[in-house]
Amino acid sequence: MLNWRSQRVRAWCYQTILIGMLIVLVGWLLHNTLGNMRMRGIQSGFDFLLDPAGFDIGESMFAFTSTQTYGSAFLVGLLNTLRVSCIAIVVCTLWGALLGIGRLSSNALARGLCYAYTELFRNIPLLLQLLMWYVVLVELMPDTETPLHFHDWVLLSKEGLALPWLMSDGLTLTPEFLALTWGLSLYTSAFVAEVIRSGIQSVPLGQVEAALSIGLSPWQRLRLVVLPQALRLIVPPLTNQYLNAIKNSSLAVAIGYPDLVSISNTTLNQTGRAVECIAIVMAVYLTLSLLTASGMNYFNRRAALKER
């Protein structure tokens, strides 16, 4: 017989009731939505994912034609999002680290420049930055017929950055991709710089003095003493910034890059399946974020200092 007086029993009861109410709420919302949709004659279901898409996509990582399914189109969108996000994450980590360390340098010019950079890029909304880079790449670049070029290896024009020698028939990076990756990397680096700076500053001065006293060079000091201890404080906010980068890549719709949200918009309009498309996009971003966060948590556990 369960004893109400026991705190453990009470806790279990309350939690069961709370979870029960949550399930009832979600169930009711789903039932209400589906019922409303059925009543108004709005068709629902995920079967549209197997229908032919009927639209082309400007750039994709594998050959996509309009006869392929909506499901394939979503996959193209996902790969495009991942392409931008991965590059942005790598670049922002490296560049952000340099900036963060530069903020603490003894050279006043380096310190000032890093400070100015961080303040500038953190405080202007990302959408404006992306639009600005896009305008630069598209308005100020020359026409395709007269590109800026370095011999025949690198050509820059309104069509993008062309590298004809790469891969079988050359690689062209479109202005949309360049503007998004570049803008996103620069923006996120500013935040990463602050995260890294605060992590480094959190290491007690005693550690730095001890490192000095045993004759380590500044670079050795950073690599062997400061950074390992700073990583404890850096990794969780850094995870945040990575997740932000992934989600911010959805601003691609504003500058014409066919990422997941853009493809979902087109599909939504053509099939009318608003609830399903938004649900897919939400599920994908949630999965990406959870994967990134768990990866970083694993890294965090390994990097964490074993306290005695």
Partner: protein, 346 residues
């Protein structure tokens, strides 16, 4: 274990209440009743498309889609000013209508099977027969859309435009690369900056964009091909046949008014002086067609008085004297070589 009875009752009643509320339709009731009670028609329009629905610097809306809403308001509520305009993007428009946020969607929306059959919405009557076309810079020396092989084409997201572009590209083996923007201002900017070789949207939209956005409209050419049929018109929700009839017959009424020579200036004099039985019927002098729609006999007379007949609406917003300079073309009356064929009001 003894959960108090009161506590158990509270939980159970909460669960039962939620189930009950879920069982009733969240939206019930006829649109006409709601409109009459609110004394206002809520009209979903474009965020800004010259000639169709655009707000000026004072916030006053104008365009043919706006005038249709005003005509409906005049017919139902006796005043064309009893309208609230809700600007909607291409992504929001159907959800706004489905959920009840707007009563009628008058937003240059193409009638298609998908939209009529699977969205819980209904098409009413076509107000503008359009087609999709291309605009290219004059210096590109392109005379036909079939010369756009491998071209990058700027297009706005969330419209029938993308699908038509793909169909055209496939049929003519052009391998066109679309660059798709969410906002149509961004798509315009990209085309005019030279990013894309061509711009595609409905032909009426092309004329409007060339006039408004190009530094020199003569530098851009609208190609002659229309690659699709785009019949545009207002849409309403399913399950409300009364409201559907009112919107549909308002459109037909305005077209038939033009066919029989009733203009906003002559409405009142014709009411008293006309001997044409069709005119007398349209104006409610001889028969009361309004009663059948749930309105009064002067419904069409008020609508024409407020916004003019179809021809007047066309001339005011899209015609040759406007910056758009569109000819009647497909939108002329059926007996003048066009497709505007009002189903008889009798």
């Amino acid at each position: 274990m003894s959960l108090t009875l009161a506590f158990t009752r509270k939980i159970l009643s909460l669960v039962c209440l939620s189930a009950l509320v879920g069982a009733f339709p969240a939206w019930a009731g006829k649109t006409l009743d709601a409109v009459k009670q609110r004394d206002q028609v809520v009209c979903g329009v474009n965020t800004g498309l010259a000639g169709f629905s655009a707000a000026d610097s004072q916030g006053k809306w104008s365009g043919i889609d706006v005038d249709i809403c005003r005509a409906v308001a005049a017919a139902v509520l006796s005043s064309a000013d009893k309208v609230r305009y809700v600007p909607l993007s291409a992504q929001q428009r159907f959800t706004a209508l489905q959920s009840g946020e707007v009563d009628v969607l008058s937003r240059n929306t193409t009638f298609t099977l998908t939209r009529d059959a699977s969205l819980g919405l209904h098409q009413t009557a076509v107000t503008y027969y359009d087609g999709q076309g291309f605009m290219v810079p004059a210096k590109a020396n392109i005379k036909s859309a079939k010369q756009l092989k491998g071209a990058t084409v700027c297009v706005q997201a969330g419209t029938t435009t993308e699908k038509n572009l793909t169909d055209f590209s496939r049929t003519n083996k052009l391998d066109i690369k679309p660059v798709v923007f969410e906002k149509f201002e961004a798509a315009n900017a990209a085309y005019f900056s030279g990013r894309c070789k061509a711009y595609t949207t409905d032909a009426s939209g092309l004329a409007s964009i060339r006039t408004k956005e190009a530094k020199n409209p003569k530098d851009h050419v609208i190609l002659p091909e229309l690659i699709s049929k785009e019949p545009l018109g207002p849409m309403v929700r399913r399950g409300d046949d009364e409201w559907l009839a009112i919107v549909k017959w308002t459109v037909y009424g305005l077209v038939e008014a033009e066919e029989y020579g009733i203009t906003s200036e002559t409405v009142n004099s014709l009411k008293n002086d006309s001997t044409d039985p069709v005119v007398l019927r349209l104006l409610g002098k001889s028969e009361d067609t309004g009663k059948l729609l749930g309105l009064d006999r002067e419904w069409l007379a008020r609508a024409v008085l407020a916004v003019g007949n179809y021809g007047e609406i066309f001339e005011k917003h899209l015609g040759e004297k406007t910056p758009l300079g569109l000819k009647r073309g497909l939108n002329a009356q059926w007996n003048k070589g066009g497709l505007q064929y009002a189903i008889p009001i009798r």
